[in-house]
């Protein structure tokens, strides 16, 4: 079993005296922070102020802070809390640290190094929406996170303002298990696969109660905003995306790991803080495996915020950047990930099941130089047939990934279509993938966890 190391979390992007780290403050090499260390670093948690207003003051504070969800969708957090708070039944709060994205380690990092921050946030959110139950969801493939969170929950027993019931739920591995409705299905005793919505979890979630499902990092930010205020939060970041963020940087970089950055920091500065790129970089995958490729030639001008990434058709998502080295075959890497994404579908929606399998098969034929007709046109047609037709966003993300690969690596795709596999095709994979979703092991060159 691996142990959390200091390599898991570091600050980058700007000098420390400019306000970073925030979430990763006080994190050192000695494993997770105890409650005492946590309180010494961040200060006491502001108590539950009794208020006569219709709405908890925290919700307005989060609105002013402009906090958006950090699980990937970027939904305004205040709006989500407000929806749950205004429901007529007693609510439940779920901390989502399931983290099914293979290239993301940030939620695991929070669980292992500073679990009390997200638990503070969960507690505050529970008070704000009137919930007396808090459920922490952690993936079964991260035993260290489970241990650390279980220990932290035990330490908080009797803490003033703690929800009446706090429990830990072990979520099965799988790319889609952390999807909001999948998590609710799992907590209701069903399989961890997405459900047809609406009703949305905030209307009818765990045990049919209004349920706030919030990402671990989002709640960790709430813990700090409650302590320091919304103006403090907005000192860092850009107008449309204030604050700091955790970024998992991996691939062709000297020191891969989780970094806390300011939104809008240049990718170059983050890569420099990670010891620089190891060799020439062909492209960067931004936002995760359902994300967007950006050509290596453009990376110098890339800043890490959604408004800066939008012209590239990309978004930060859950805060993932993978650098692909110039030695790798981008077509082989794309085919492997596309096949994996097709396998990871829940198999519930016909267009997603058929569309992603057909896309993967077409890509495989193209890679082997065995495709008949214009396979890029076939890929584009399949993409438009698949996109937007699932119960969840899975087909849309997989299609986005494939289309951006076809665009950024157009020469390599044309070359493989004509001549078949290249010399680099046989190289070990740079984009790591879990071998078996239930085994939680990695194949290829894994992102170092410890």
């Amino acid at each position: 079993m691996s142990r959390a190391t200091p390599a898991l979390g570091r600050a980058a992007g700007r000098a420390v005296d400019s306000g970073l780290p925030r979430l990763l403050a006080g994190v050192d090499g000695h494993g997770g922070m105890s409650l005492r260390e946590h309180l010494a670093t961040h200060g006491e948690l502001p108590g539950e102020r009794s208020h006569r207003r219709r709405e908890a003051p925290l919700i307005e504070l989060l609105e002013h802070a402009g906090l958006r969800g950090r699980g990937g969708a970027g939904f305004p957090t205040a709006k989500k809390l407000r929806a749950v708070a205004s429901a007529r039944r007693r609510a439940i709060v779920v901390i989502n640290a399931a983290e099914g994205e293979p290239a993301s380690l940030k939620d695991r990092t929070l669980c292992e190094l500073t679990p009390h921050l997200m638990l503070d946030g969960g507690q505050l959110a529970a008070q704000a929406v009137g919930a007396d139950e808090l459920i922490v969801c952690v993936g079964e493939s991260s035993p260290d996170s489970l241990d650390s969170v279980a220990e932290a929950i035990a330490e908080r027993r009797g803490l003033p303002g703690a929800p009446a019931r706090v429990h830990l739920s072990v979520v099965p591995s799988g790319y889609l298990a952390g999807q909001e409705s999948a998590l609710v299905s799992h907590l209701n005793g069903g399989p961890a696969i997405p459900r047809f919505t609406p009703p949305m979890p905030f209307e009818q979630g765990v045990r049919r109660r209004p349920t706030l499902v919030s990402n671990a990092e989002t709640l960790a930010h709430i813990a700090l905003i409650a302590r320091h205020g919304s103006a403090w939060f907005r000192v860092l970041g850009v107008g449309s995306q204030p604050g700091s963020a955790l970024l998992t940087l991996s691939g062709a970089v000297a020191d891969p790991g989780v970094y806390e950055i300011e939104h809008g920091a240049s990718l170059a500065s983050v890569v420099a803080a990670a010891g620089g790129a190891s060799g020439r970089v062909r492209a960067a995958l931004v936002g995760g495996y359902a994300g967007t490729w950006i050509d290596g030639g453009l990376l110098n001008g890339v800043a890490l915020s959604d408004e800066h990434l939008a012209p590239h058709g990309a978004a930060l998502g859950a805060g993932v950047v993978v650098l692909l080295s110039a030695h790798a075959c981008p077509v082989a890497e794309t085919v492997r990930v596309a096949s994996w994404l097709a396998e990871q579908g829940a198999g519930q929606c016909g267009p997603c099941l058929n569309g992603l399998n057909a896309l993967a098969a077409t890509l495989e034929q193209l890679l082997q130089g065995a495709a008949q007709g214009n396979s890029v046109r076939r890929i584009e047609r399949l993409a438009s047939l698949t996109r937007g037709r699932g119960a969840c966003g899975h087909p849309d993300g997989a299609v986005r990934f494939v289309l951006s690969a076809v665009r950024v690596f157009s020469e390599e795709f044309a070359d493989h279509a004509r001549h078949g596999p290249c010399d680099a095709c046989a190289r070990p994979a740079e984009l790591a993938l879990p071998v078996d979703p239930r085994a939680g092991r990695l194949r290829g060159d894994p992102v170092p966890v410890a």
């Binding site: 459900r195 047809f196 519930q348 929606c349 016909g350 047939l385 037709r389 119960a391």
Partner: protein, 70 residues
Amino acid sequence: MSDRLRLNPIACQAHGMCAELLPERITLDEWGYPLIEDERVPHTLIVHARRAAQACPTFALLLERDRRRD
């Protein structure tokens, strides 16, 4: 106010009744799953749309009152 078609893609088993009964709005893809060109159902099609929704063996096609404004 008008009515809107909504598909539950999890429930849909590609029986194709909807495309048979409401070709003005629904065609089938290469695997037999419905493609809805336009979810809005004008008054002139409402009877056909209702029949298509009722004919779906898995109740995957829903005809809902539109809460948004057109």
